[in-house]
Symmetry: C2
Subunit: 358 residues, 2 copies
């Protein structure tokens, strides 16, 4: 049985680089991606924002949803799954609630626009909710949590995905891992959680597979329904473990229902019928405490909660942190010393840029 | 390593009675509790509703949050933690969002009133949200999910609790298990999930302890931070395992922040300072699809999602079900054959009633 205090390290900030990583200045990374997006016919301001959202993922230590996905993002554009110039449109307005159509535009731009709109609705009404259909993968979901919190909002968003987890008792993928983001603003560092409903992402499992290692905790099922930690088998079976076993499976199902019913868009079962994951559904919800007359001030309460958390006694070699704490540490270091990127991916992206005319 | 298909059985509907159980007609159970509550100075209609909410928990197979808690509920009344005649009051109104004060009234009546108000707000605005401070344990949270769904609403609610789970890496309880309820209405049976953020409730762990059995899956930590399944040790250490390990720990923290910041009420760390858990904070959120012009009709989409789920291939001896499916089966059987109650608890409750003057 794994010792938690040892395995805790696995999920945490480390200042060393992986074997095949190099550091690129944040501005260089953003500018490079921006230039490529311009060649892919993005309007200049949208190229800038899209590049920034990719680069921010690496800056914050989430390379799996940043540069590493960029080549696949371009492939989806080339093959017609993403319309670079499509913008989300309002399809129904009901006071503090709005329904939007993503028109198959770039998922990160759509999500950024829609969280921005949910922020605006909450600043007007105290609370604002926006549902979005026909959008694409939002890449790093945490970006939209930080975005809401930077505006002083409590932000919640979630997305559905293609089927990639089994139902509880099921032997094939029928549920999405449906990432959920929750953010609470705070002067000295927002509290932001960005988590898929699978215990480990497939990206994380590929990393362990490439190192020939087992996952530190149960991560999925084998073909007989036993819990296992072997990334190779889990990837092969597409049987990732929902967080909390039956609980995460149920949560995934209901979040998919809420996003697809309210947006009128596709559910995970619809997405599973497509040749590639696209045209997915999302929900964005914001609360703006100053408009809701909160007392005591939100900052004081949040600080008190974090102070209590941080004063917890710890297991040996463990370090109790709040969600978002390590992100800020990474961001500071990477802004100063350069953003870690996978060398092969970086070189591949550079060739993608050089082969196109602007 | 436990086989999922075997352990799945553990969480499911079984039509047999446990050794010390007997069946009581639902009406008898409700009437008995109602009579006792009248002797505790409840107004007649509130005694009726409070008794019904307790009895419904047993009816639906959640005795741990029904009759089993009734003696402790009465104790809290006798010792002044619950004010039987206190009613929730609106402390701030912002269109579709309202802030209420529970005035330390009975937690289940407060929660029922507040979910009812969130339903009304959503029927008026399309979406409605209510935050509640100074309330008490809502007993069986699922009741409020079924309540919202019976009104045709998508309902979401959560509550904070006293500290009863460790932070990730922490060796003492600092987080609440903060139960979350999500409900989606459906003509042929609502989809309702009612889950605490610990893998197992302490009630469930006490049951295993009394049988001298280990939990079927990892359930908490020993004093060295190892994952264990031994209910006795986990109860002793108060180190229940958050669902999804670090993920559930983070989720618990943020839900506590949201409930306490928006309501202006106590956070888990405040509740931990009290001599007994009370004056807690909750949030109730409803969406009313007909007011939001959803298309296709919510029922069609939900049915299609469930059909896809139920068509999943299964591991041997497993049965894929949706949250709420087993509840309806239990409810039908218990309404017909009588509601299972623990014999000792039932006899104890009868003595509680007979010792008081009305």
């Amino acid at each position: 049985m794994a010792k938690m205090s040892q395995n805790f390290k696995d999920e945490t900030y480390s200042s060393f680089l992986f074997m095949n990583e190099l550091r690129i200045p944040y501005k260089t990374l953003t500018a490079t991606l921006r230039e490529i997006l311009l060649k892919y016919s993005f309007e200049p301001d949208r190229a800038e924002l899209c590049a920034t959202l990719f680069a921010k993922a690496n800056l914050d230590g989430v390379a799996s949803h940043g540069l590493n996905r960029f080549p696949f993002f371009l492939k989806d554009i080339r093959e017609g799954y993403i319309d670079v110039n499509a913008k989300p449109e309002c399809a129904g307005s009901f006071g503090s609630f709005e329904r939007w159509d993503g028109n198959l535009g770039p998922g990160n731009l759509n999500a950024h626009d829609c969280m921005g709109r949910a922020v605006s609705l909450s600043k007007k009404h105290g609370m604002g909710c926006l549902v979005l259909k026909n959008t694409n993968h939002w890449m790093r979901g945490g970006n939209y949590g930080w975005q809401a919190a930077d505006e002083g909002c409590i932000g919640i968003c979630f997305t559905n995905t293609k089927p990639n987890m089994p139902a509880w008792g099921g032997s094939e993928p029928v549920l999405g891992n449906n990432p959920v983001v929750l953010a609470v603003p705070r002067k000295n560092g927002h509290v932001v959680i960005d988590m898929a409903l699978a215990q480990y992402s497939y990206g994380k499992m590929y990393t362990y597979k490439s190192r020939g290692e087992q996952l530190p905790f149960d991560a999925g099922f084998d073909e007989d329904g036993h819990l296992i930690r072997d990334p190779e088998k889990i990837i092969e079976n597409e049987l990732a473990l929902p967080i909390g076993l039956w609980k995460g499976a149920g949560l995934s199902l209901i979040l998919d229902m809420i996003a697809s019913v309210l947006s009128g868009g596709n559910a995970t079962c619809d997405i599973g019928e497509m040749e590639r994951e696209h045209a997915i559904s999302q929900l964005f919800l914001c609360f703006y405490p100053p408009k809701l007359g909160t007392s005591p001030l939100p900052g004081e309460k949040v600080d008190a909660i974090l102070q209590h958390l941080k004063s917890s006694s710890e297991f040996p070699d463990s370090d109790v942190r709040y969600p978002g704490e390590a992100t800020r540490a990474r961001r500071r270091e990477n802004m100063e010393h350069g953003v870690p990127v996978d060398k092969d991916t970086w070189e591949h992206v550079l060739t993608l840029g050089s082969g196109l005319n602007s």
